[in-house]
């Protein structure tokens, strides 16, 4: 009995709240993160006033931990990913993440008066790659916008590796422009372009 209590104590020590969240089913995970973020957006004064900085903070804090950006960047880069050195892969991932976070944060600010519907979700036992479908309803709009998340299970955690808006993958939509950059200037050329894009966005946000 004492041994059992000891085991239980150890277990509760290791199972942090974060680890619990990682064991959530993919649909429950998407729902809890979405609801939390929408709740904050509706209440936060800075975001209501259009603060990109605050929106980015929110996304970094609440949304980023559930995304697998290395996987996303590899998908966007395509076959040239293997040619990139580990350092290049890291820089590419960081820059691509910055670009997506900024774009996504601004979309959050633009579309704040929306409600989200969760489509029925079914999952076979043992599945490791699923799509969670949601619908965004905007006030006054006749048709909801489909917003689908592709998630993959790594160990115990489900991580998003693609976001599909109205049938358009935010990740693979970059593939041909990335391939073009790589063809013209190699992996470093793409890195340079992404860095330039991010700093111009940052400069525009400061205005």
């Amino acid at each position: 009995m004492r041994l059992f209590a000891l085991l239980l104590a150890c277990a509760s020590f290791f199972v942090s709240p974060g680890a619990l969240a990682q064991q959530m089913a993919p649909d429950a995970l998407v729902k809890s993160v979405t609801d939390e973020v929408l709740d904050i957006i509706r209440k936060d004064k800075d975001i209501k006033a259009g603060s990109t900085k605050r929106a980015i903070e929110l996304v970094e804090q609440k949304v980023l931990p559930h995304f697998n950006f290395t996987r996303m960047t590899a998908l966007a880069v395509g076959k040239d990913w293997r040619q990139a050195t580990p350092e290049q892969q890291k820089v590419l991932t960081d820059e691509f993440r910055d670009l997506l976070v900024r774009t996504y944060s601004n979309a959050l600010i633009a579309y704040k008066n929306e409600t989200v519907d969760y489509r029925p979700f079914k999952m076979q036992a043992g599945e490791t790659d699923v799509t969670v479908r949601t619908q965004i309803h905007q006030a006054g709009a006749r048709q909801p916008i489909a917003l689908d998340y592709s998630l993959e299970k790594n160990g115990n955690a489900w991580k998003v590796y693609d976001v599909v808006v109205a049938g358009v993958s935010l990740v693979t939509n970059y593939r041909s422009s990335f391939a073009n950059e790589i063809r013209n200037g190699g992996i470093d050329g793409l890195i340079k372009t992404l860095k330039a894009k991010n700093s111009s966005l940052e400069a525009a946000a400061k205005k």
Partner: protein
């Protein structure tokens, strides 16, 4: 009226021929975009037209008109469009959706004051998005090359043929009083554009190269629409299509496509 349609169809045929002649010039090698030089020029023309005329008018419209009225205008045109959306659903072998579209027109035209209120949606009759391009896709027609038309914007060859049918069957085309018809067309363009104003900034910020971003988004979007939002998962660059291969997982599927191209 019929001559207008014929003339428009004629113009389209000429443009298709011109595009075909231009094939092979100035490409960056995307197999879906063999007339990229022509397309980029047309894209530039449309962007210019949007910048100096359509966007300013749409922005003014959005600023001046109270938002419930904007919704009313958009609903009015949406109701007219539901008629052919229903026909296309029928042509695609989806009688239940077609019946719901017919129900929408019936309810919205009467209870919804000529479509200004979308009562049907609140009654649970979902709005669909269908056109002849999708119908032909559903019937198995290949989408063909990507083409950007002046004024009409991005299409594929299949969607261009679809567009000719859409214009020919557009109820607005059958308004005989020419000034009324032109006014309705103009208001519809402005109303449609106003609804897209928010998306502008997002695309502007997201894209490294706006032209290819819009192109790839158009192609993905059309593919998704043809499958009513549930396209079979595939890597857009694997060429072979259906089924998600183990290769596609780490992004190497693109290599087979590039190899095939070289």
């Amino acid at each position: 009226m019929k001559t207008t349609i014929k003339r428009q169809a004629g113009k389209l045929t000429v443009l298709v021929a011109v595009a075909a002649l231009l094939g092979g010039c100035a490409t960056s090698g995307n197999p879906k975009d063999p007339v990229e030089g022509f397309n980029r020029a047309m894209y530039g023309f449309n962007e210019g037209l949007d910048k100096v005329l359509i966007k300013p008018v749409a922005t003014g419209y959005e600023t001046v008109l109270p938002s419930p009225l904007q919704t009313g205008v958009a609903n009015f045109f949406s109701n007219i469009a539901d008629l052919m959306i229903g026909v296309n659903n029928l042509l695609q072998g989806k009688p239940a959706q077609a019946a719901s579209d017919a129900g929408r027109v019936l309810v919205n035209t009467t209870v919804g004051f000529l479509g200004i209120l979308d009562v049907a949606s609140t009654m649970g009759m979902e709005k669909h998005e269908e056109d002849f391009g999708q119908t032909f896709g559903r019937w198995g027609m290949d989408d063909g090359a990507y083409v950007v038309w002046p004024f009409f914007g991005p299409r594929t060859v299949r969607d261009t043929i679809g567009l000719a049918f859409d214009v020919a069957t557009d109820p607005l085309s059958y308004v005989d009083h020419v000034p009324t018809r032109n006014t309705l067309w103009a208001v519809r363009i402005v109303s449609d554009r106003a609804e897209l104003l928010k998306a502008d900034k997002v695309i502007e910020e997201a894209a490294l190269d706006k032209y290819s971003y819009v192109r790839d988004a158009y192609l993905q979007r059309r593919r998704s629409l043809i499958h009513d939002g549930n396209p079979p998962k595939f890597d857009p660059y694997s060429g072979s299509g259906e089924g998600k291969s183990a290769e596609a997982r780490d992004g190497t599927a693109a290599s087979s496509q590039v190899a095939a191209r070289n």
